[in-house]
Structure formats: C-alpha cells, structure tokens
C-alpha cells in the first residue's frame, strides 16, 4: 500500500525520499499493472516528472513544503484539466481537450499536488461497474475477474492498486462510495454545495458532487479542506461558516465517546450478503466498545429512493446532455449531414453509448408533455419527503450507519445486460444525494475475502462528525494491519 499524505510529506521533508523517486515508482507501477487493470485513460508521464523535479528543487533550496505539495493524485476523466483530454469515457468527447481548469483542479494546483493522469469511468458517469466506458472496463485490483464498482471505478482502482495516493472522483448516486467499498478504500461524498462543481462534466446537476478517494480517512479530510468553499463559477456552491469547517487534529484524535449513531431499520432488509451483515455487525460492536450509543431509527421513504432517483437523474441528464449536439465541440457529423437536424441526430447517435442513450430517452420521456407531473413532479415531492426523513432522524442522532453496498464486488459482465439490477446497485447510496447530505464509505474491519465497506451519513455540512466517527474505525483497522 502507498503511504498516506502525511507519511509522504514527512518523508519528503526528512529527505528520506525524493518526490521524483516516488512519482517514478508510481509511474512504473502504472506502466506494468495498468495494462491489465485499465484504471487510467491518460497518464501524464513527463509532466508529472517535471512537476516532481520542481518540488524537489524547492526542497533543495530549503523552502518549506505545503502538506499537499508533491502528493501524486489521479483525477476522474469527467473533471477538466486545461490542456488535457476530458473524455468522460465517451466517444462523444474522445478528442475533446479541456479549455480551462475545474475549480477543484485550480485549488489542487495551487496546493502543489502532482497530477498523474485521468481515470476511467462509466460513460458520462452513468453506471455502477465502469463497464460502460467507451475505452474498456476497469478491473478490480483485488480480483481481476470482478468490477471495481462505478462510476468512478478508475479512480478507485488507481488508489486500491497503488497507482495513485489520492484520486478525485464524482458522486451522483453513489459513484464515489460504492467503488470505494468494492475496492477496499475510503471514499467521501461531501454535502451538496460544499465543493464547487465548476469544470465537472455535468450528469445530474442537482445531485452531482466532487469528492476524494484515499486509503486513510484523514487524507480525505485534507483533500476536502483544500477543495471546498464558495465559488462564483458555481451558483450552488456554499459559503461555509466557521462551525462547519474541519478541525483535522480533532478528527485525528477520533474522540467519539457519547456520540449517537442511528441504524435505519429499512436498510437492513433481505438481500444483504451474510458476509456484509457480519462485517457491519463487527463495526457496530467496535463502536459500542468505544462508547458510541446505537439507536434504531426509521427512514420511511427509503424504498422510494431508487425509483425517485431514476426519474430526477435522467430528467437532468436529458437536459444536460442536450449540449452535445455536434455543433460547438465533441464528436460531429457536420461534414456528413445534409441539414441541421441531421447534424444533431447523427452526432448524438454516434457519440453516445447505450447507457447515456437509455437515460437521455428516459429523461426525455418523463419530462414530456402529459407525463411531467406524474413522473418528475411526483419524484420531486418524494425527494422532499426523503429529505424530511433525514432531517427528522438527525434531530436524534449524530450519524446514520448502513452498508455501502449489499454485497462485495460482482463479476465482470454479471449485470451488464440488466439495467434495473445495475440501478439497484445504488440502493444504499442514492438517498444521500437526494437529500444533499454527506456520506462516506470506509472499509470494515473484515480482512478476509473481498473488501466490504460501511457507510456513514450525517446532516448537511456535518463532515466533521462524519470524519471523526470514520477515523475511529480507520485507526483500529490500521493498528490491526500494522500488527499483522
């Protein structure tokens, strides 16, 4: 396993290693290992090395390094880095070069990170297995016959496979948390609005949120602290008040005695694998020994979350993806078409794969005259009821604990021809996006077989509580790993 941000920072400043050596080693791993795993769509070899040399030169001059300087990071290929391809793993954007930096990229550049490259995803972030990529599926580094989850599967596999220290992904219905769970790492979806979405290729704008992958919880806190905050380029980004800011030292101390966690009865239903249930029980028992109180809570509209999501999300997809029309950028059939209508129709038919097509069509249908109120209107009402469920529960508890996914990583090809069963992959994760609250997936303490994650959710902008609770289990897990 690659070192954490804090460990790397320490080895840089103590001259135990150089940034160049670390980056060279990771690039060498990518070169051999990623032929099989396929987590990257593009690797920035020479650029990453040149950046590493600059950081080393700074160290040689005796200058102090910021914590993130020289930390090697991969980025989901749905987030724009100026001058590099941003494909969203779609034929539509196969040859598109980003014309500006996403706000998170600008902030990470200012913090001095090293970008290793762009990672694979389900086309336009639509999927739960990374099999929908136009550039081939990504495999799970824990078992190459299995999927890494999705849609940020390339990001998760790059971190789990020691091909990046951190990755930046996006989560619309579980696309950070589910792959984190299936690959055995930590994945954080912040509160909607906490991190600017400017420069993220939009899927469903009211649900999308950018967040980090890492091995350690504390690393996701460091990244969140760097990328969060109000941005004039994203009208939905939020100003944080001081009570909402992170206190990283407190997260590290992980003092959780007296905190209260809710277990929603609607989430512990049939269909959860025994291994997952056992691993979750072990986490709950461990929390109890640390002085956390557990109560059963109810989120009565849970069963409606996935159907609600599969109306609101496609509706937004159909409008967001209307911009891909073969006129201004991306794949264009302009030269082969007789008239304007044919430019649109032919470019879109050629550019979009099957899953974006399904969702554009579904969204067009639910928004069409005569169906709007019975689908979209109704779904927006149910979304409010789901949000209200969470508000009620958070009056009582600090966080909610559930499995991240009902099972471990499934086999490549197992669900690819059954959209509804793939959609049910999001069963434990979509409600947080609909409610706009933060969620994190953290590996359980189970260390046999395939990785299993648990999910914690907290109220809006309560990432401090979420990360503190997550850190407590993370500490125990690493103590166990170090003693093995």
């Amino acid at each position: 396993m690659l070192p954490s941000i804090e460990q790397l920072h320490q080895s840089y400043t103590n001259s135990q290693t150089t940034v160049k050596k670390v980056v060279e080693d990771i690039l060498a791993t990518i070169q051999t290992k990623d032929k099989e795993i396929n987590s990257y769509t593009e690797v920035f070899n020479s650029e990453a090395l040149a950046q590493a040399e600059l950081v080393d030169a700074k160290l040689a001059r005796g200058e102090k390094l910021g914590l993130l300087e020289g930390i090697p990071i991969s980025v989901k290929d749905a987030i724009l880095i100026e001058g590099h391809k941003a494909t969203a793993s779609s034929r539509m954007l196969e040859n598109y070069t980003a014309t500006y930096d996403a706000t998170v990229i600008k902030k990470l550049k200012e913090a001095g990170v090293i970008f290793l490259g762009k990672t694979n995803l389900d086309e336009f972030a639509m999927g739960a297995s990374t099999e929908n990529s136009a550039f081939g599926a990504t495999l799970n580094p824990n078992d190459i016959e299995r999927v890494p989850g999705g849609s940020s599967g390339g990001s998760a596999a790059s971190v789990a496979g020691d091909m990046a220290v951190i990755s930046i992904g996006s989560d619309t219905g579980g696309s950070i948390r589910q792959p984190a769970s299936l690959t055995g790492i930590v994945g954080l979806k912040p509160t909607y609005g906490r991190v600017s979405r400017f420069g993220l290729i939009a899927m469903a704008s009211s649900l999308d949120q950018i967040g980090p992958f890492a091995h350690r919880v504390i690393d996701t806190a460091h990244i969140l602290e760097t990328i969060e905050g109000k941005d004039n380029m994203d009208a939905t980004s939020a100003n944080l008040d001081t009570s909402q800011l992170l206190d990283i030292d407190k997260i590290r101390q992980a003092e959780i005695k007296g905190m209260k966690i809710g277990i929603p009865k609607e989430y512990f239903i049939d269909g959860i694998d025994d291994s997952v249930r056992k691993a979750i029980d072990e986490v709950i028992e461990t929390y109890k020994t640390l002085g956390v109180e557990f109560v059963e809570v109810s989120l009565p509209h849970t069963e409606y979350a996935v159907p609600t999501y599969y109306i609101i999300m496609p509706a937004e997809v159909s409008t967001n993806l209307a911009r891909f029309d073969g006129i201004r950028y991306g794949l264009s059939e302009l030269q082969n078409s007789q008239d304007l209508q044919e430019v649109y129709r032919a470019s879109r038919a050629k550019g979009f794969g099957n899953e974006p097509l399904r969702r554009i069509m579904l969204g067009t249908y639910v928004l069409s005259s005569g169906y709007y109120s019975s689908y979209y209107g109704k779904a927006k009402q149910v979304q409010n009821m789901i949000r209200q469920d969470f508000t009620n529960v958070f009056k009582e508890v600090d966080a909610i604990l559930t499995p991240t996914s009902p099972h471990t990583a499934f086999k490549i090809g197992e669900k690819v021809n059954d959209p509804v069963s793939m959609y049910l992959e999001d069963i434990f994760t979509v409600a947080t996006n609909l409610a706009g609250i933060p969620g994190i997936s953290v590996p359980t303490l189970s260390n046999s077989g395939l990785p299993i994650g648990f999910q914690l959710m907290s109220n809006h902008f309560q990432e401090q509580k979420l990360l503190t609770l997550a850190q407590a289990i993370d500490n125990i897990r690493y103590d166990k790993l170090n003693n093995q």
Partner: protein
C-alpha cells in the same frame, strides 16, 4: 403506460438504429415498471413545497475573466468542428 421509442428519440434528437430500437423497447418497459413504484405513494397529504429555496447569484459576465487563460477564446475555437475566419460554421437554420 404508453411510450413510443421512435417518438421519444425524435424529441431527444437522436437517430435510432433498429438494434437500439429493440433494446430500448425491452429496457423501457422494465425501467418504467420499476419507477412506477412511486405511483403507489399517496402524496395528497404531502404539503412540503417543491419550489426552489436556494438564492442564486446575480449573473455577471466579465471580459478577460481572470479565472480563465488569456488564450481561452483560441482554445474554444480549436474545439469547434468547422470554423471560418474565427466563426463557427453551422448548417442553415432556415430552410430555403
């Protein structure tokens, strides 16, 4: 539940091959059956407003916005499928 896949494709401005038409005909029924779970929900008692509660910014357009590189115009033009003298070329909008 009535749907006509070809008509939806027309609304979405996408040409559908017969293969994709068949795929969607099959998937659409399954997906709609699934999302129709919502119709069983009684929303009469739900009085939570669905209007937008977030305050949006006042839009401002800046020339030479420092947020972007100086050559952003050239970069954007570079991405266009067909350009003449710095202008984007499109098929005629009005029929002759």
């Amino acid at each position: 539940m009535n749907y006509d896949v070809q008509n939806i494709a027309k609304l979405a401005h996408i040409n559908l091959s017969s293969e994709r038409n068949n795929m969607l005909n099959q998937d659409f029924g399954n997906i709609l059956d699934y999302v129709n779970t919502l119709t069983s929900l009684d929303l009469e008692a739900n009085t939570i407003p669905t209007y937008h509660t977030q305050t949006l910014r006042e839009d401002i357009a800046l020339d030479n916005n420092p947020r972007f590189s100086l050559n952003i115009k050239e970069n954007i033009i570079q991405e266009m499928p067909l350009v003449e003298e710095g202008y984007l070329v499109v098929k005629s909008v009005l029929k002759k």
